[in-house]
């Protein structure tokens, strides 16, 4: 039998070429630049070029006091800014061995979950846009707006809230907070099935997602993936379960884990996480304990000599704050282990062998926020 495929291919001379994806590209969601090596439309090499919005936050932290670090972390992963704030606040509290009141813990947890839903909503909208369904974006933003208003009412800002301070939160909850949250939960429970009908069930969407961008379990461990990306590969990496912080030890929720490892699994993990977050909110909204919203703390915080590490689960994965203190008012070294940076690492391998359109979808399910990568 004639080997048709090879006989044809040997006659055609093909050449690999490079394509600059970004920094100005709609699918890179900011200023991520990937230099793609393409064979036709198939990606055979990915080389990242970062630093377009690198602000040197880690260096800036070395010149700031511990209170002043927090507002910088807002600007890392701006979609989970509250969780980033909390990571630093928790690290400082742990170092000083301050136990915060239950009220603070519950407030932080609720804000975390609202932030997580907001982030996942934005991701859902943009994910739809990345694969061509433009309407999802507006629907997601309609619902995200409700969270933004809850945030604005209590913290005074919609995105970069700087709500946490070491030893508590900046302001007390607004009296209208529980009511708005209840309204939001009710609304979300109505629209989430609608999202499924609009996008998840769609045959084109299923075809685009299923079996695309497979990240195997052991690879996810080795390549440094965390968060929904790792959970989509069947790993139980949720920091909220593994090392509970704030009020996560007193709420019941299920860790969303899918075994598929493909785009659809990562998508399902995030969709399920939204339901779980709603559950957590529902458990907490009715019993916010009374208590102080700020613990007494010295104005100028000095950490004892040593190394401190705090892990939290942001909407994109594990955020680690590593503080080395030499006993002065400024940290000696701060390292942020940002989820996006490690997930990008995994993308470099996952993206190989798929078409450009698939790479866009894979990047979408990895959910990058570029300031988080660049820091």
């Amino acid at each position: 039998m004639i080997d048709l495929k090879n006989s044809v291919q040997s006659d055609i001379k093909t050449q690999e070429y490079f394509l600059n994806m970004g920094p100005q590209h709609p699918a890179t969601h900011g200023v991520l630049r990937l230099i793609l090596k393409l064979d036709g439309e198939t990606v055979v090499g990915i080389e990242p070029d970062l630093g377009f919005i690198h602000r040197g936050i880690e260096k800036m932290c070395e010149y700031d006091t511990y209170r002043q670090i927090i507002h910088l972390t807002d600007r890392m992963d701006y979609l989970s800014s509250h969780i980033n704030n909390e990571a630093v606040a928790l690290a400082v509290e742990k170092a000083l061995e301050v136990e915060v009141s239950d009220r603070i813990k519950v407030i932080r947890t609720m804000m975390d979950e609202l932030t997580r839903i907001a982030s996942h909503l934005l991701w859902w909208g943009v994910m739809g846009m990345d694969i061509g369904a433009l309407t999802t974006f507006m629907y997601a933003f309609r619902d995200r707006e409700m969270i933004n208003e809850i945030m604005e009412e209590t913290t005074g800002a919609r995105l970069t809230m700087s709500y946490n301070i070491p030893g508590g939160v900046m302001f007390d909850l607004h009296p209208g907070f529980p009511k708005r949250v209840k309204e939001f939960i009710k609304h979300m429970r109505q629209v989430l099935p609608e999202y499924d009908r609009l996008l998840t069930g769609n045959i084109i969407f299923q075809k685009r997602m299923k079996g695309v961008g497979i990240l195997k379990k052991e690879d996810a461990l080795n390549w440094g993936a965390t968060g929904p990306v790792a959970r989509g590969s069947g790993l139980h990496t949720d920091i909220r379960k593994r090392f509970p912080y704030s009020a996560y030890d007193r709420v019941e929720f299920e860790e969303a884990v899918e075994e598929g490892g493909d785009n659809l699994a990562r998508y399902q993990v995030r969709m399920r996480e939204m339901y779980e977050s709603l559950d957590i909110l529902e458990q907490l909204v009715d019993n916010i304990p009374e208590g102080p919203y700020q613990m007494p703390m010295r104005n100028l915080i000095k950490l004892p000599k040593g190394e401190f590490y705090q892990r939290v689960e942001t909407a994109r994965g594990e955020l680690g704050v590593f503080i080395v203190s030499d006993g002065k008012k400024n940290p000696y070294r701060v390292k942020f282990r940002s989820p996006g940076f490690s997930n990008l690492n995994a993308l470099l391998k996952v993206g190989l062998g798929w078409k450009i359109a698939d790479l866009v979808a894979i990047m979408s399910t990895f959910d990058f926020v570029i300031p988080d990568i660049d820091r």
């Binding site: 070429y17 439309e41 846009m129 061509g132 433009l134 507006m138 075809k207 685009r208 450009i356 698939d358």
Partner: protein, 359 residues
Amino acid sequence: MILSNANIFSQWLESTSGLGYVLVLILIAALYLGFFAVAGLMLVLMERRVAGFFQLRLGPNRVGPWGLFQTIADALKLVSKEIFIPKQADKFLYKAGYYIVIIAALIGIGVIPFSRQIQGFDINVGIFFITAVSSVGVLGILFGAWGSRNKYSLIGAMRSGLQMVSYELSAGFAVVTVVLMAGSLKMTEIVEAQQSTWFLFKGHLPAIIAFMIFIIAGTAESNRVPFDLVEGESELGAGFHTEYSGMGFAYFFLAEFINMFIIAALTSTLFLGGWLAPFGITDGLPAQWFWGMFWFFLKTGVIIFLLMWFRWTFPRLRIDQLLTLEWKYLLPVGLVNTVVMALFVWKDWLIDLGKIFGS
């Protein structure tokens, strides 16, 4: 036949001779050009408003009443913009690109009968002519993309080529299904054959399948979501027209919308009875040319709205899925469907309301 004499353009032409004949030709051409611009702009506006309502927005509503002049303002802005050509571009191909696209779209409009009296030219291979001309447009896309020396453009154009070659087939088979019923390729005769029953209902099952295939293939041919891989803004930036600015871009944009109009107009002509009123409800009224156009544009508008509905709901296919859909689903179904239709026509299993109600 009497029908050809009904065309007011040909009546006008016959009444003149010599230089006047040429002048009238130019006038008719100018009329079509004007229609082209207005229809294009209004379609863009419609798209934006419809998209707005789908997306819980209002769409443009500030310029003029209900935002009617928004796209005109946009067009004025685009005219006043600088046209810059990339340094490395092949200037001839770069410019030829949009002319070819727009001319192909314009010629296509020429044979579409807006009403019994209004049609640019009624040739006896009308439907065949449109199918032929509309595939010339892809040449413009290829020229423009190759000429602008951009890898994104080139990828887009190559996808466009693939898409066009594949979906022409399905569209062709859907057209053949209708032609079997009509027994003619002439546009006016196709419409007149639907006098008693529209082909969508006359051919019942095979006609409905043909209708669906034609809509899908038509969406693909006009490069709209879910088949907008040519532009694929989240993948390729703007695809084949990445490097175009000002009016160059506007031509591509307008041509895209005119192509959509042509697809919708063809659908309404082939399946929904073109200018014919449903059950002849406006047949006795004066100004038949107006009522013809009214019904025609109403039907076309509904189809256009359907296409917009697709666009604002569905995600985009991938290139290999696009080809799978065509070669594994649409084409076999279309082929079988044509044979079935031939059988139906031969055995006369069609539904003819005229015969049933015995008029």
